[in-house]
Amino acid sequence: MEKQLALQMKGITKRFGSVLANDHVDLDVYRGEILAVLGENGCGKTTLMNMIAGIYYPDEGQVLIDGQEVVIRSPKDAFDHKIGMIHQHFKLVDLFTAAENIVLGVREQGAYNLKEVNTRVAGIAERYGFHLDPAKKVYDMSVSEKQTVEIIKVLYRGADILILDEPTAVLTPQEITRLFNVLRRMKEDGKSIIIITHKLNEVLEVSDRVAILRKGEHIATVNTAETDEAALTEMMVGKKVDLNIDRPEPMNPAVRLEVRDLSLKNAEGIQVLRNISFEVRSGEILGIAGIAGSGQRELLESIAGLQPLESGEIIFHNPKKDKPVTFFHKSLKRVKELAAQDAFHDVNLNGVSFRGMSNKAIRKWVESGGVLFREDEIMNLRNKTPLEIRELGVRLSFVPEDRLGMGLVGSMGITDNMMLRSYRKGHAGFLDRKKPQALAEEIIRELEVVTPGVSTPVRRLSGGNVQKVLVGREIAFTPKVLMAAYPVRGLDINSSYTIYHLLNRQKENGVAVIFVGEDLDVLLALCDRILVMNGGAVTGVVDARQATKEEIGLMMTRTSREGREEDR
């Protein structure tokens, strides 16, 4: 069969301020093929596709459809040329039903009749094997339901060229297989499908050809059948890369944090965590796998003291028996409180009392190492605020998934962001900017953060540098437990490996690390054990050295018994 050109891009260039996002990119797409656009995060894949979808307008270059030059100034122009894009961040109106979202913006003859639309939507859903209730409101939907709405939305408009931006990021392996089957069916229909991804195995599985982008430039387009992972990686990164992630053996693991029977309802009263129990050990990395929105975020936030629990305990173990008390993790006030509870003994195993002593004398005694703990410290963090947890002397660091919306303040510089954790210290009501600035400079130096200065708003930094600043701050806090949610999302390969390396170094220092990830390959390579979640419940804990991807994938969709009862 003669291959027929559907879409051509010639010399497309796009700048954002001084950043060159796309540099003279040429790309051809044929009818009835699946083209993968492969590249690292930040290489300009999405920007390029946004220009065909009418979201951005190119600074230079031409777009040709069926051999004729066209100008796509808006998404409407794109639809007129039968181009439809499914964005990574879904573009749906939460308050509307599925059907209302689907007909949004469609120009049709005749009166607007929602009932008729519902029937037609149901028809399309059936033809491609989707399950969808057209009258369901989007705010009630799961992530994969939302994706279904997005795909049907594009099909409803009769798109011939479909662009999918990282469609598999939120799906389980089984859902991915189903999606790929749908894509193949569309391809047989003669549609052109462009799938943006940075995952090599998916490229090899589903695509006919691969276009590789690197730093905004088009490197090559190759036939999938004639290439392999190593070659693709080399083109993508620009050099030979060792994709192996280090995994040192855990040293003297001991239980550090224990979660027992934890349940949580969110603000809308929906059960988001159900009877979760697990433990994390010092010197290991515990991975958490699951479809996005299975309760991972809520679990970490519960441990960090950000959610009011319905039930359950969070127990922190500090192996301190017969070890000296320090001011490293505890304030003088806290030490005095503990002494009053008879928690300490001196070198001769006699009880310690600070009664009648001046603060200076207490300080001197403690710093000399003469005050020792009687027992291991065991503390319940249940329903403690982040501030109370810190005052207990529990060093719990948390790298949240939403870096600029939660971990950092985008409009502030690095110095002021360092202060977030420590601004309460000293100087009565006034701020001390000296120490945070020193820390900021250290992090910039140590982690090679690229920034014009310590006071440049972090929002202007690239994703990788933002993450280095955040992880750097959390590590500078010398944690006992380090929780990181999707710490490499959106990062290029080099930055990702920097982060893996940092986590491994923490693990070697005896920190208990919790790593929430979406890429099962990375989880399997980096972690010691993996906990799998679905629908707010734990569906299994596996040894990462032995488990397979399929096994975990099944657990990601398996409903635990309690869960099923709730759902029906």
Partner: protein, 375 residues
């Protein structure tokens, strides 16, 4: 068919992008141009509306000279200008901590008004019965307290249920207005509509009647600048304003900060009310705040929520205000002239922010050429 249309217009006519940063002199130049254009527009509108100007077009110079004369014409006018600036600035300063927290306090008008009401209530009941210094102190306490109460009510609901504060504070203004008319009815039994000037509870003159108020507000400006930029409270306000989730993440109790900041905001509005009551009016009407609560929102916004810059923006608005009042006097037009003039100038200055924040690229030029065109 669509191809044909595209062939005619290959690119969008204009294309925008957000600036990373802009040199301050450039930004000021843009604002200055906007101001000049605004003044020209004022002249054009005035030409349509002011009969005396239409009959004597040669008086146009005179017309613009009024803007200088209104504020700086005589030393009394100048002092008056400084005092009105101080009161307006005081309200704007009061609103600023809330704005930095992204709490859109549109209730400055009501908070100021209850401040006036509180002071006058104390004056009305206790004036002459207790020593003057004690009276002044009690009036101050009443003003601060009523302002704080008016500010904190919406804050409590915002903190607890995320109730929309813009609309809530806006409604509170009118509740305050009718609260004042309620007390006026009670206090004036004979049915006369206004409360005559009270004899007691007048701030002492410092050289003249104006200086004390000006100094108080000057001190407040510096104090607030320090509070917002160099204290832990100020830092917490900025963090909450930028992202509530970040604030929670680092252990800031967001509700507490909202409530604390709105108490401060309301209290400072109450202080402005006190300055109006004890320093100027000695009485209360439903118009005691005179719309300054709304004008102050614009002062604060134009000053980028920076207390020191707000001295300038409050000054600009006052110059326009008094200039336009001078015009309505000299050219014999309605007393509503000032608000019209201020409105027109604001349109231009508000519009000019766009050219400071965005770059415009015109068709046929590359990105660089577009940059040049703006410069």
């Amino acid at each position: 068919m669509s191809e044909k249309r595209h062939a005619e217009a290959r690119e969008p006519l204009v294309h925008l992008s957000k600036r990373a940063s802009i040199a301050p002199p450039m930004a000021w130049a843009i604002r200055l141009i906007a101001l000049v254009l605004g003044l020209v527009a004022c002249g054009l509108v005035a030409f349509l509306l002011v009969d005396k100007l239409r009959e004597h077009p040669e008086r146009v110079g005179d017309f613009y000279y009024c803007f200088i004369r209104g504020a700086f014409g005589t030393s009394r006018k100048f002092w008056k200008f400084l005092r009105s600036l101080a009161v307006l600035l005081c309200i704007a300063l009061a609103l600023t901590p809330a704005f930095r927290m992204r709490f859109w306090n549109t209730g400055g008008e009501g908070q100021t008004l209850v401040g006036v009401l509180g002071a006058i209530a104390v004056d009305f009941y206790l004036g002459g019965k207790i020593p003057e210094w004690l009276l002044l102190l009690l009036m101050l306490a009443a003003s601060l307290l009523s302002g704080a109460v008016w500010g904190v009510i919406p804050a409590i609901f915002k903190a607890k249920w995320n109730t929309n504060e813009t609309l809530f504070t806006l409604m509170m203004n009118y509740v305050a207005t009718y609260l004042v008319s309620y007390f006026l009815v009670i206090w004036i039994p004979n049915g006369s509509s206004s409360l005559s000037k009270l004899q007691n509870g007048k701030l002492p003159a410092l050289g003249n009647d104006y200086l004390l108020i000006i100094l108080i507000v000057l001190a407040l400006t510096i104090g607030l600048h320090i509070y917002l930029n160099y204290t832990k409270h100020g830092y917490e306000i900025s963090v909450v304003g930028e992202s509530v989730r970040t604030a929670q993440y680092v252990g800031i109790t967001v509700g507490k900060v909202i409530i604390r900041t709105m108490i401060l905001s309301g209290m400072l509005c109450g202080l402005a009310g006190y300055l109006i009551a004890a320093g100027m009016d000695q009485t209360v009407t439903t118009e005691s705040a005179g719309g300054q609560g709304f004008t102050a929102i614009m002062v604060s916004w134009l000053g980028k929520f920076n207390p020191l810059a707000m001295i300038l923006t409050a000054g600009l608005i006052q110059v326009l205000h008094q200039g336009a009042a001078q015009i309505s006097q000299d050219f014999d037009v309605s007393g509503a002239m000032p608000s019209m003039v201020v409105g027109i100038i604001l349109f231009f200055i508000i519009g000019s922010e766009f050219f400071i924040n965005y770059e415009i690229h015109f068709r046929g030029h590359g990105a660089r050429a577009g940059k040049e065109a703006v410069k």
